[in-house]
Symmetry: D2
Subunit: 320 residues, 4 copies
């Protein structure tokens, strides 16, 4: 690669994780982001990396992520690992610090920041159109989970609500969470409550600018994949998110029918593409991407405080 | 009055309180409820009762509510007193008991129960269409308050949120609140925080059927009078409430414009009429109206628990 | 009646026509318009006037409208006759002229002008917010007709679309129709086409300010009673009307459900009340009400031109 | 290319026309359709093809479309020429016939068929959910035109409304237009009326299944790019299209603000991609794509009939 090519040659991106979302990210990198190409796939599950790499024309497939990381042809890596492998706060700090020392651009996959509706809401708040944010709401409702008995405890906080916690920070720019109160229960799948399942949760988060926020999650939305946000401020309110997938609306004798969202990779299809295109641009341009390690740490701190609050029954201050 | 007239003669209703909402209720009784007539008005403010009674053609005006109550021509009374005169739990119990002993039909003015949108939502839940309620939300946002320095502490809980607490019970029929956690602040009018003003509050309420509910209030909605409800259950979601006053929508180069609600007596105009018409029917028919003393007590218990929670910083169980 | 009572004594209104809409108007006059009282009912159908007058407490009932008109106690009359008795253009002119000569306030029941959404749209246009109107649309879709074999020819033009023609004039204030092109068919009830039924029609109306308008009607809306309007102008667009009856929206696994309007007396309940309250005020104040004979004539001229156009297959200029 | 590669090798597509929409299609082919690659660009404007080809990495650039067509490496061609070069009916027939003889897959760029909302509406109608279509509406409102003095006569019919005519056929599957009545005027830019400009038009189209349709266009939508469709049938109604670009809605003291669509390449971004991806698949698979020459001819016949109708002032049957 010559210097004059620097602006146009696609970044060679390796993918760790070939599950549902990993496969989708791989397809995005291989096909929808001109600034990137899929350089390889790693997944410990036998055959998973091979199958995905073959279908997408990636030259490398391995069960060992270290092999991918060691490949000199790989310029960047996308990690699509389950939440149960997500780090705790100390790990997050170490990873962020290591990335900083190594000069590696680190981006965290809070994809709602790349959804044009949530971004437009954020931009309005950041521009001061709402005055001071005072009340916020972010919710995630998944249309069911396939195997409730195998969902690890705290999944609803670490895998689902962590996106809402980041969304609340994104929609309240410059402010930081100072107190967290959480309740959680197994309402959708009560048979699995004894195994520690938490499928429904509401978290109240206070910010240092006075704003009071609510995050809400459920694994039980029979009507679709429901992601919404709301900010109320001294000069107005902004909402984002809609369960309707298209603008088509049918009115019949029995009622109204619309297509609704069913999967994150549909609702956030364009957001995921924008996220990775921006990441590739940052890598190529040597720019530090957002959201980064600091944002991941902040959302994780809220999630861990929420877990403790749900256990202790009282409000908890997130670790600074 | 002969027996044969019993079904059609309007009930003679006395009104206690000639303030903004009292005057509106008086007008409703005098003009919009065929089953009722306004028999008299009482208000301790000099001249207030006289002016209202004269404008509505009511035969009696007094500064002493007892005089109204003693008038044999008065068959029923509507009390439109400010929240600061609302009773505590023991008073509520005494009043309810006294009404029961006296055989007096007691109705409490939780007007959202008579709004056709909230009622339709309730009816769907009551009919089982949503399965088991799991998440609820009720919010009240007022478009500003005229004199923040004179708002008594706890007004947001006792005057505003008490309607949301009743709405949550109404939308979760058969279930009762078991735990309350509240945060409140003076975000809209911070200059009055030292005087105890609370203009913004979020309350988390857990019910005995597992449902987790959020009630939210603000005195700072520049965009209008915003009243909404939401129930999420195992079989679906229902929402009620809309900031738009009419279906008229203007699209111009600068954006979209709609008429929005600004006052409770506009948004709930029909609900207030339906409420008093139903009350008059109950009085005439000797039927016990709803919501009654038991509902008032339950909502008041949540409000008092919320006040304590906001003071202590921990969850509080409402008094049984 | 003494002069000093003039401002407050309700107007004694007689009602001609005790059918569905007549009964509704009678109830409105008797119960919902403080400025009016129902002085009597006339209907040629044996017993109809008696039954309605008795239920509403009106002192007079007759099968002869002339008797009602001759009663000195009757100060004003509401005519709720079927469209088949509506006059032609010469009759309309004679009636309007006679009312003028007699000094009788004449109001025509184009109730959409009293609907707050349509009125808000009109007000925006009249205030110049849309610039010059260029495209308009008004539609009426009824949820079926009980007895298609007995619907007189041209009913869709004279009873249904005449409201749309007036709405188009109302939403294009100051402009007048200059050309009409209409197509009509029996699509909902094709078995009755041979009997002259027209259950579906579209009418294109050009105005003297250049605006091009579409009026549309059907007797076949299985999903509800659908009334909508739209104005597009050089500075924006405004829409009015919504099939949803309340703001309640249910999202279930099968789709979305809302309550929809089913009858004009529900959708226009408040509009009818406002219409008659304003009429009573005009009678009491000696003010000429709107819309009046000139508006009736203009809408009728469009309807008659549309009937001719549908017969001849070409555009027709409405009679001046 | 070996046979085993047939399913995966991208189709080499040449592009004729490097204007606004041509550049967009070129970018789509080069970057967003994995099944295609941009093999070359032709545009008679000096330098236009070179610039676009260079920016997209296409190997061929020429001012002569014949050169592109003669290139053996080019397997398919996308024509993005202005409407004034669109053919008349005889030319359309000749082109379709020639394509048939040559075995060339011919697709016509009626992009709304690839918009997921319009497609969902079509699918409902095709599945019989609406019963028999009876009333249809399709509208196109452009947010202004840059140079009204240079717009050729009939542009609004041949470039804009032709999409609505196809949409009406798409939403009324199996039925064909039998009569057309059109009115058109220069309302947005009256100064250019003498030069033959038509910036506002309404067209009434009757179909052989009885359905009555309205197509409507304006070049004057200050509020955005407004594309909507509506089908009303014996069993329900379906609508598609919304002026709002995102789900973000701001409520402030002055009203409501939303992002609105401003350009076809934004609103139909995904539709254009789906259209070309499907075209590439058809070319690779030897499948005849839709919509094809027959659809182009049918929409063109309506447009030509509308032009005649607007000139003659009477209804016109489209040429069979």
């Amino acid at each position: 690669m010559t210097v004059s090519d620097a602006g146009t040659a696609p970044v060679a991106v390796g993918l760790i994780g070939a599950g549902l979302i990993g496969a989708f990210h791989g397809e995005t990198l291989a096909r929808r982001v001109p600034g990137a190409r899929l350089a390889g796939v790693a997944d410990p599950a036998p055959g998973a990396a091979e199958r995905l790499a073959a279908s997408l024309g990636a030259p490398l497939a391995t069960t060992d992520p270290a092999e991918l990381l060691a490949d000199p042809a790989v310029e960047a890596v996308v990690i699509a690992a389950p939440a149960r492998f997500h780090a705790d706060l100390a790990d997050a700090d170490r990873a962020t610090a290591a990335a900083g020392v190594a000069g590696v651009p680190l981006q965290v996959g809070f994809n709602r920041r790349f959804d044009q509706s949530f971004r437009a809401a954020h931009d309005l708040v950041a521009a001061g159109r709402l005055g001071t944010p005072q009340l916020l709401r972010s919710l995630t409702r998944d249309p069911g989970i396939p195997d409730p008995g195998r969902v690890p405890p705290s999944t609803i906080f670490l895998e689902t609500l962590i996106h809402d916690f980041d969304t609340l920070r994104y929609l309240n720019p410059g402010a930081e969470p100072v107190e967290v109160y959480a309740v959680a229960d197994a309402l959708a799948y009560p048979d699995f409550k004894d195994q520690g399942l938490q499928d429904t949760a509401v978290v109240l988060v206070r910010f240092d600018n006075g704003a009071i926020a609510t995050a809400e999650a459920s694994f039980n939305a029979v009507y679709g994949y429901d992601i919404r946000g709301e900010v109320f401020g001294s000069a107005g309110m902004v909402t984002a998110g809609d369960i309707r997938r298209t603008t088509m609306t049918f009115h019949g004798a029995e009622g109204v029918a619309s297509d609704t969202w069913r999967r994150n990779i549909d609702l956030f299809h364009d957001a995921y593409t924008a996220e990775l295109a921006y990441f590739a641009d940052c890598v190529r341009g040597g720019v530090t991407p957002e959201p980064g390690g600091r944002d991941a740490r902040a959302a994780l701190a809220v999630a861990l405080a929420a877990i403790r609050s749900a256990q202790t029954g009282g409000p908890v201050a997130p670790d600074a």
